[in-house]
Amino acid sequence: MPSVRMPPEPTPARSAGSIRRWAGLDDAEVVRGVRSGEREAFAALVSRHGGALLRFARTFVRSEAAAEEVVQDTWIAALDGLERFEGRSSFKTWLFRIVANRARSRLQREGRTVPFSALGPEGEEGDRPAEDAERFDASGHWRQPVDAWTDETPERLALRAETRGAIEAAIAALPPAQRAVLVLRDVEGLETEEIRALLELTDGNQRILLHRARARVRLAIERHMKGGR
């Protein structure tokens, strides 16, 4: 039987091609394109940073709908303020700052406070150590050492769907301040000083929060590996 030939799809090639063209350029160049009104340049920026902004917005507001609104407000504010972007910080950090501001004013309007404002790490869970004291003997040596992992390659940990699921669930379960710091430092790779400024944290608090958050995610992977074997 002769194969049935499907009529060609209407070609969105022009627009997809243009987005691809922008996708190869760095933020500063794409931002210039947006300033001169290039639709595809804006689409490329949204596709590049949209997901990260959404993840960051989720650290401030509880509902997904609210996080999406914060992201929408952020892009609109970014467009309006684009002329003022001077490139002193990276464009991503600039966007994150708008997310933090938008989320803060939204919470304020609703008469709520930022989940981690004025909360040092002490506010979240006392001065508990990152690892369970039960794991050590009286002299501070391992009583229950960590189990070897079936895989320790960061790439594979992040790519295997089940492990990634366990990691993402662990992030979602973190107290808000730990989640915000971990997302900005480890997931987005921002500099420590930028994170302190964005979240209005002291240097010490920021480090304790990161430490606890990483310990929790490591433990979640450990449990996942144990259960998964």
Partner: protein, 79 residues
């Protein structure tokens, strides 16, 4: 000498390069002698590395479309 428990408390300062030279050497000396702590530090580093490789969440298409509509409005508004 640092204890294993202290290693687990210092691991972030260590990997973020925040330990003094003296403490870094003490930390490394312990690692050289303790395979449990080596495994622990390796796992913490792998955890941080995996976090940096998580794909970003998807932007819902409706939000993307709304943003493009807003962009058109912004562009028209500038004349």
């Amino acid at each position: 000498m640092l204890t294993c428990r202290e290693i687990t408390e210092l691991v972030t300062e260590y990997s973020e390069g925040r330990l003094s030279l003296r403490d870094r050497l003490r930390f490394q000396l312990h690692l050289g002698l303790c395979k449990n702590c080596r495994a622990y530090v390796r796992q913490v580093k792998a955890t941080a590395g995996a976090l940096g490789r998580l794909p970003p969440p998807e932007v819902p298409p409706e939000l993307e479309q709304e943003l493009m509509r807003r962009f058109e409005g912004w562009r028209r508004g500038r004349g």
